[in-house]
């Protein structure tokens, strides 16, 4: 079984790079295709190897998807809040540093979560039982706190308007019947295309990208970011409806004002933690909160403690490989960025995102993209935090849990 699992991990890591770099190609889709092919695959290999492939792919994806968020401004639900700080660093010639910070977050949070797993196995069921009825109220408190954190009464008012606009928008989009992949047009518009349009209107030119060897981060800030990453990533895997995006907003409120570097470490860690913890919740509360881990659950029905240790080892190996791959690919992107016209690249990316949206969500997706771009421009015009636009994902969860 050992050689088969090793091959599965390597193939999973390669697939994780492909899904991470391609906006719109989600790991859940690949995992589902694998599941439908499992009767054929099991003729050649075993179910543990197939599950290991999915886990290695999912872990690698949580590392590599920050490359497209940073260099292409194409966000997914877990990278949306990283786009702005990462884009700022890109415009300062430090795109590779932005990616490296998210990799630090992903790798160190992965190690921390695995180290804490013996404790988490006991704690998770207790927290789940205690807090499961209060998710909506906690998120409501977060969103109120986000508005109140804006300085001055004017900004508070406009933050409320942004929350109301994007919250209603989210409710409408999630209620459109038969809409495939609503997150792609919504988040690409709010956090990707709108940022690229602003860069275009300000005639931003990309400075020479440099790949620095050293990043200075205060140990205290790093510890704060990693702790919040593990905590908020845990919420994603424990509570239904809470995704990486909501967790990132919550974590941002918990840690208060932190520097860009620590924030990127935090956001980088959340999705990796949630992926690892999904494996633990599969054992402890028999629930998987993550699409690809649900496929693992379907394949295996239930997992034993021995199997959990095996999958944590798979995650650790994949995390190690993903670190090398992400930094390598990021350096390639960094070099390519030096040779191309950024305005032309931005236009090409906007067209590419529009084509992806049309392919996955049809003409209604294009309409959603247009509305989300318009809403995405508002925070910049009135100078409030763009994180308020995350209400598009938080408000529907609040309503489902509170009403």
């Amino acid at each position: 079984m050992f050689p088969e699992i090793l091959v599965a991990i390597i193939l999973g890591c390669v697939m994780g790079v492909i899904t991470g770099l391609t906006p719109g190609l989600h790991i859940n889709l690949v995992a589902l295709i694998l599941f439908s092919l499992s009767p054929v695959l099991l003729g050649y290999t075993n179910v543990v190897a197939v599950a290991s492939f999915i886990i290695a792919m999912s872990i690698t994806h949580t590392f590599t998807d920050f490359i497209s968020a940073t260099y292409l401004g194409a966000p997914a639900d877990d990278t949306a809040l990283a786009v702005l700080p990462a884009h700022r660093l890109l415009l300062d010639g430090r795109g590779h540093e932005a990616v490296k910070l998210t990799v630090i977050g992903s790798l160190l949070c992965l190690i921390l979560t695995i180290a804490l797993s013996p404790l988490l196995i006991f704690i998770v069921p207790i927290i789940f039982e205690y807090l499961k009825n209060y998710v909506g109220w906690i998120l409501l408190a977060v969103i109120i706190f986000m508005i109140l954190r804006e300085e001055g009464i004017d900004k508070k008012f406009w933050a409320l308007i942004v929350v109301a606009l994007s919250g209603s928008f989210g409710l409408i989009v999630f209620n459109i019947p038969n809409l495939k992949d609503p997150l792609l047009p919504m988040l690409s518009g709010l956090f990707g295309v709108s940022v690229l349009l602003l860069s275009l209107s300000q005639r931003v030119t990309l400075p020479m990208q440099r790949a620095t060897e050293m990043i200075k981060i205060k140990t205290k800030n790093m510890a704060k970011a990693l702790g919040s990453g593990v905590f908020s990533g845990s919420l994603v895997s424990i509570f239904p409806g809470v995704g990486p995006a909501q967790a990132a907003v919550l974590a941002g409120q918990i840690v208060g004002k932190i520097d860009t570097f620590s924030y990127l470490i935090l956001v980088g860690g959340i999705n990796t933690v949630s992926m690892v913890l999904s494996l633990i919740t599969l054992l402890t509360i028999q629930k998987a909160r993550n699409g690809s881990i649900i496929v693992v659950q379907q394949l295996l029905q239930s997992i034993s403690t021995g199997m959990l240790i095996l999958f944590l080892a798979v995650a650790l190996i994949a995390g190690g490989i993903a670190t090398f791959l992400t930094l390598y690919v990021s350096k390639i992107f960094s070099r390519v960025m030096n040779k191309i016209n950024y305005s032309l690249l931005s236009i090409a990316i906007i067209i590419f995102i529009a084509l992806m949206v049309f392919y996955f969500s049809g003409i209604i997706g294009i309409l959603i993209l247009l509305v989300s771009v318009s809403i995405g421009l508002v925070p910049n015009i009135i100078n409030v935090s763009r994180a308020n636009a995350m209400a598009c994902l938080i408000v529907p969860v609040i309503l489902v849990n509170v009403l």
């Binding site: 099991l42 003729g43 490296k100 630090i104 190690i111 021995g306 930094l327």
Partner: protein, 115 residues
């Protein structure tokens, strides 16, 4: 933090993961079934591959006879199970060996049809 430090941590992670994976994969791998193994390994997890010879559906429990040198009975507690099996299907069974009325059988934890 230096990039080389990050890469060293990643390398250590992979090596530790590999060591754990190697150790645990030898411990949890279900033994491939053999006729003699069935009689010797009561209580152990086994894996069995073979063709379905006969199915006796009693409602909440299904007895599946799997072709081997001497046919093996696989017991499936079918409550909530959506598995649809036919004679001649090639299946892979993961389960525990159990002794019942002097005979050994496999209580299935998971059955998959292989095409």
């Amino acid at each position: 933090m230096k990039e080389t430090t990050l890469l060293k941590i990643a390398l250590i992670c992979s090596l530790v993961g590999l060591a754990v994976l190697y150790f645990i994969s030898t411990k949890i791998e279900p033994t491939d079934f053999s006729a003699s193994g069935l009689s010797q390994n009561v209580g152990e997890d086994v894996r069995l591959k073979g063709l379905v010879k006969n199915i006796d559906d009693k409602g909440s429990v299904v007895f599946i006879e799997v072709e081997q040198q001497s046919p093996v009975t696989v017991v499936l507690f079918a409550e909530g199970s959506e598995l649809k099996l036919n004679s001649g299907d090639n299946i892979e069974v993961f389960g525990k060996v159990q002794e019942y009325k002097g005979k050994n059988e496999i209580v299935a934890q998971k059955i998959m049809v292989i095409r």
